[in-house]
Each structure stands twice: as structure tokens, then as C-alpha cells.
């Protein structure tokens, strides 16, 4: 049996890890939404179904790995912040090859100006998809495991 401190630590690590995965997807979506010509696939206009699909898959998967609703809400807020960090890092990535095209200071404001709706979209889809994943976890994973583990005790 793990100690409460160990359980709390594991919960924090889990929340940060899943928030980071959501942040990766959110950051990519914000970047792709603003620069679809540089996205994968490169398109002249950003595809909304693709963005919702990518966010939806990610949030359902993280929801399946989330233990409870409180963690889900925490990781959604954390993902909102990490979305900005990842999108900024992508926008600043040309600096790695020595190209400074826009001032690094202006990148966050630029992303919020052009990507505000995408941040909102990412947050909403994270919550809805995460809740869906959490419900699926309760329905399919935990119930089946409980039925196995508790069956002998019911006799």
C-alpha cells in the first residue's frame, strides 16, 4: 500500500505528464491554425476537423489515463499554459538555425492575438474529450477490473 505522500506525488506527476501531452497537441493546433502552410499537412487554410480530431484523440486518451475529475481539470488548465509554451517554442524554432524573423518578445502576444480562439477551442475540447475518456475509463476499465478483483469477496 503506497503512502499518502507517494500517492500525491504520483498524482502530481501524472497530472503534469498528461497536461504536457495535451499541451503538445494544443501547441501544435495553435501553430497550425496560425501557420497552416508550415503545418503537417501543409494547407492554405487550417482544417478545423483536423484540429478538433487531433485535440479530441489526445484528450480522450489522456482522459483514459486520468484517475479523477479534479486531476482532469488541473491538467486542462496546465495544458492551456503549456499550449502557449509549445506554440511559442515552435514559432521561435527558427532561432535554432540563427534566423530571427520576429522579435521573441512579441511572439506570445502575436500568438494570443491570432490564436485566441484556438486556445479556447483547445481548452474546451480538452475538457469534453477528457471527460469522455474518464467516463470510458470508469465504464470499461475499472468496472471490469473491479468485477475480477471483487468477485471472490462477494461469495
Amino acid at each position: 500500500m503506497a503512502s499518502p505522500r507517494s500517492r500525491n506525488l504520483r498524482a502530481v506527476v501524472r497530472t503534469v505528464t498528461l497536461g504536457a501531452v495535451l499541451g503538445l497537441a494544443g501547441g501544435y493546433i495553435v501553430f497550425y491554425g496560425i501557420f497552416p502552410v508550415a503545418g503537417i499537412p501543409a494547407t492554405s487554410e487550417a482544417s478545423v476537423p483536423l484540429m478538433i480530431g487531433l485535440l479530441g484523440i489526445t484528450s480522450i486518451l489522456t482522459g483514459l489515463a486520468t484517475e479523477n475529475l479534479v486531476e482532469l481539470i488541473f491538467q486542462s488548465f496546465l495544458a492551456l499554459f503549456l499550449t502557449g509554451v509549445v506554440a511559442s517554442a515552435m514559432a521561435l524554432s527558427p532561432m535554432l538555425i540563427g534566423v530571427v524573423f520576429i522579435s521573441p518578445d512579441s511572439v506570445p502576444a502575436f500568438l494570443i492575438h491570432y490564436g485566441f480562439l484556438l486556445f479556447v477551442l483547445a481548452f474546451v475540447v480538452d475538457l469534453i474529450g477528457g471527460t469522455t475518456g474518464l467516463a470510458m475509463r470508469e465504464r470499461y476499465f475499472l468496472r471490469s477490473r473491479r468485477s475480477v478483483s471483487f468477485r471472490p469477496e462477494r461469495k
Partner: protein
């Protein structure tokens, strides 16, 4: 190996299997991020490394022995545009704008009734009045510039009495005055400005409703020479 056995043991439980999928998906997302960042960086790199080397020649035809432009003469501007593309993107230039000014000696001498507007330039050698003899922007047949390659185009423009009366008369007047004071009417200094629009061709073009930064991302505008207005 112990870690393989440890991972295999974790695969038994459904909620732990989910973590394998989450980690796999995170790797896919990271690959997407890396690919998009790389594509974006390569486009911006192209903006900074494309080199533009224009060369221009001015030739007068139909002049007197002193170099005065006759009514049946012409001024021929030939531009050779060479664009080197050291980047990994496929580029093409399809649009150019150019302006060429000739030094207006009659105006500098203060001759009256010239009826033309000059650009005044002050530099270390003094005050110069320059007449804009050529000005145009046009689309040309796209010239592909392969990654790591060079694209060149040679364009010719002719100023005749029929093509532009007022400009032709001004240049004719300048050559006549210059022939008087310098002996050769065609030996006038010229100043050129040329701008080319280079498009990144291996990416889709931005839509008209997209943000202005996006459209400037796939269009590289480079110019050479002073644009005097």
C-alpha cells in the same frame, strides 16, 4: 532484459495499456511538432539567404553622332536578374517592379520650362536632380529556382516616342543638353531600383482572408538599389 519484462508485466492491465498508447501518441505529436517547426524554419531561412544579383545595361539607338536621341530613336533597358537559392525550398519569381532615373543636367543647370518633375537627391557630391525615365511593375513567366540552385531571367524594356511621349521627350532633352555641355549625350549616370517577388512554390499559397503575416511567409520580397520614390 529486465525492463522489457517489466514493461510486458504492465501490459496486463487495461489502464496501464492506455499509458503505452498515450506515450506512443505523445511521440507522434512530438514528431508532428518537429516536422512543422522544421518546415517553418526552412521557409524563414529561405527569406534570409536568398541572394539577388541584378545587372542592367542602358543602350541608346537612333542617336546623332553627338549622342542626341532622335525622334525615331529608343532607350533600351536590359535587366538580367539572377537569384541564388541556397535554401531547401523550391522558389520561383514571377513579378518584378523597377524604376530607373537619369541625371537631369538641364534641370540642375536651372533651364526654364522643362515641365517635368524630378527627384532631388543630396549626397556628398552635391545636389542632383534625377528624372524617372523607366517605371513599371509586371508579372513575368515564373522562373523556377530549385533548392540550392540559381534562377535567371533577362528582361528588356524600350522607351520610344510611341510608348511614352512625355518621358521620351524628357530623355531626349537631357541627351541634347548633355551633348552640348559634355560632348556625348548618352554618357549620363543612371540610378536603378528593382524589386522582385519570390514565392515559395512547394507550399500552398495563403488564402486572401489569411492573416498578413501568413501571406508574407510564402512571399519573399527583395530589392536592390535606392528607391527614390
Amino acid at each position: 532484459m529486465a525492463w522489457v519484462r517489466s514493461l510486458a508485466a504492465r501490459w496486463k492491465y487495461p489502464e496501464q495499456r492506455v499509458w503505452f498508447v498515450v506515450v506512443g501518441w505523445a511521440i507522434v505529436l512530438t514528431a508532428l511538432l518537429a516536422a512543422a517547426s522544421s518546415s517553418y524554419s526552412s521557409v524563414l531561412y529561405a527569406h534570409t539567404v536568398v541572394e539577388f544579383t541584378p545587372s542592367r545595361t542602358i543602350a541608346f539607338t537612333g542617336t546623332t553622332s553627338a549622342g542626341v536621341l532622335r525622334d525615331d530613336g529608343s532607350v533600351n533597358l536590359t535587366m538580367r536578374l539572377a537569384i541564388a537559392n541556397p535554401s531547401s525550398r523550391l522558389l520561383a519569381f514571377s513579378s518584378i517592379a523597377y524604376k530607373s532615373w537619369i541625371e537631369d543636367l538641364p534641370a540642375e543647370a536651372g533651364l526654364p520650362n522643362l515641365n517635368r518633375t524630378d527627384t532631388v537627391v543630396v549626397d556628398e557630391t552635391g545636389v542632383h536632380q534625377l528624372f524617372k525615365a523607366f517605371e513599371r511593375s509586371l508579372d513575368v513567366e515564373p522562373v523556377r529556382i530549385a533548392a540550392g540552385g540559381t534562377g535567371t531571367a533577362t528582361l528588356s524594356f524600350v522607351l520610344t516616342l510611341a510608348s511614352d511621349v512625355s518621358r521620351f521627350r524628357a530623355v531626349q532633352n537631357i541627351t541634347a543638353y548633355t551633348a552640348q555641355v559634355r560632348g556625348n549625350g548618352t554618357a549620363m549616370p543612371w540610378i536603378h531600383w528593382v524589386e522582385v517577388l519570390v514565392e515559395v512554390r512547394d507550399l500552398p499559397a495563403a488564402g486572401p482572408s489569411d492573416n498578413p503575416f501568413l501571406s508574407s511567409l510564402t512571399r519573399i520580397v527583395i530589392d536592390e538599389g535606392p528607391n527614390l520614390g
